[in-house]
Symmetry: C2
Subunit: 392 residues, 2 copies
Amino acid sequence: MAINIAILGFGTVGSGVAETLDINKDVISKRIGQEINVKYILDIRDFPDSRFADLVTHDADEVFTSDIKIAVETIGGARIAYEYTKRALSAGISVVTSNKELVSTHGPELIEIAYQNNCCYYFEAAVGGGIPIIRPLYKCLAANKITKIAGIVNGTTNYILSQMKNEGIDFDSALKQAQANGFAEANPSADIEGIDAQRKISILSTIANDGAYIAPESISAEGISAVTTADMDFAASIGCDIKLIALYEAGDKPVVYVAPTLVDKSNLLYNVCGVFNAIMVEGNSLGQAMFYGQGAGTLPTASAVCGDILEVAATDGKPAENRSWSKESVEITPYDEIKADIVIRVDSSKAVDGYEASVLSDEAVLVKGIKHKDIADLVAKTGAKSWMHYLK
Amino acid sequence: MAINIAILGFGTVGSGVAETLDINKDVISKRIGQEINVKYILDIRDFPDSRFADLVTHDADEVFTSDIKIAVETIGGARIAYEYTKRALSAGISVVTSNKELVSTHGPELIEIAYQNNCCYYFEAAVGGGIPIIRPLYKCLAANKITKIAGIVNGTTNYILSQMKNEGIDFDSALKQAQANGFAEANPSADIEGIDAQRKISILSTIANDGAYIAPESISAEGISAVTTADMDFAASIGCDIKLIALYEAGDKPVVYVAPTLVDKSNLLYNVCGVFNAIMVEGNSLGQAMFYGQGAGTLPTASAVCGDILEVAATDGKPAENRSWSKESVEITPYDEIKADIVIRVDSSKAVDGYEASVLSDEAVLVKGIKHKDIADLVAKTGAKSWMHYLK
């Protein structure tokens, strides 16, 4: 028996999916008792040099009216991908994807369409590349209230920050290196401005928040383009490293934001370097767990997409647990009202009245639980050179 | 709707399961659309002070002929637990457990009985405590050939080694501390001699080896009782830390063993300290991923057991993917024939002819790919003071 599938969009991830399904054909059919057969590759381009060239079609109608059970959406973006995903799900064809933009912006609607048509919309690859995180959250940690998530979810920025630290170079030089090495796109703004991380923490937060949707645009996101070599040196001087952290904390109004953060070396995230990702999850029964691996790349991402394909196949396209998301985005704590731990760069003899504070070095003071809206005031009053979020 | 379950054995983990199901009742019923109702707690003891006292029964017949759908086996050992597990599965009652001894020794038979009776035998909690690892291996990484696993899977020994390092104390003192703090049992031999790790790597290896069973007794296991403070100092001098590593490498005859190992500080496992566990998995599509968290403890282990309970409930007790194990243990590479990377403690001017070798310090030479059977010879020839496995 074979299950026919189509790959929509034959770029980096899509071709990795075809590749992975092919090289691991034997173990896959053994494990799920049936074969996964790529019947179509839908793309506007041709790929005459690909060994999968024969499967390429430009005819979407042919694909969506065929006997395929699963569509792999690896187009990216939220336009054509959105149309095709709706079309597939409406026809009862399960869709698996790595498209964090689409999932984070249209997840509630698409998941609902999947339910109405008794098929699945899975997106393990949308967060953390090859790292299993979505399914563990839904399945393995299902008996927990998830209290906190802190993650390095963008490989490009983590690579840039690692290069700045290791080679003592500034942001612009590190970005150029990242582009030269294929770790950053020609237009890197979605990565470096924290938009990609914002989308990913939107997805993780919504799951942790039991499907009460937290839209990306409601999440404050600061990128890393303002991080200087002086900041990196300062971080090192207090035993920290700067990482772009995406954070979720449970509550009536959850706390969610993305920001460059001083991560203490006692934290496992401190050692997550280069293009790797890691996501720390805290549950009320579990305690802390961390998931680490390659957050991007053709084959790691394909590994996650293919895991979803096999899950759909194993359950015959029927969704198991309740994964529905609320239609409307729920209220989260406004950024100004969030109480954060920050480090201010200031002569440590300066008084920090009214806050729980401790001295980290001659020119670094840790201030605990300060509301974001009060930070500017404190900085002005103490004459601090700068401030940054802090994660122990 | 409610699903009735029984907890067999109300010790540390069993009581944690009752506790977790109770405190997270609301999220659980929301997630799976039904309630999990603990109908019986089967134990030879009474627990008059427990708030679950009313549920305690000593009558196994009553339990196994009731309408329970799931039995939580948290008895431990491979005698009563074995009998009760067979009895439950034979009656079509799914069993979930944290019992690594039973799974590693009788897994093939018990999984087979589960299949014959169309129910599940799940054991997420048997390896890594609260860390999701079994289900991610089966589900999320299903499209991969698993090429390697290297894990710190025993919290007791990791705690002892961490204490030896941090406090400069010897093995006996660290063991006593561990016992005083509840991290080691009165009779600690299963932990410190590597037996517990041997069972866990047996389970992980069998899964990675696609169900071709690798029995614990076929796996060479060395514990940590011979590790000295001099060894710890030596490790630090070459930028390493000593960890008890359980290893699996794929192959026609897989390589599987447990041994104290010099872990280089560039390896993420280097920073896994105290009672924490971490398991690094390498897949041919995935690359490397690591799973980290609390490897033991009442609630973390209960978190994993409860994840299994919810999975059984969500799939109505019907196993999804093929998890069968071969009846007979397959052949693995004999210990003597395994090629390993080792560090010998020797004056680095000594010649190490015939091997790929590199100098790590004045008194440390890394020797690559030496067969275990040839190590004694090399040690004798070079006059090395000691040798140990090495993991970069």
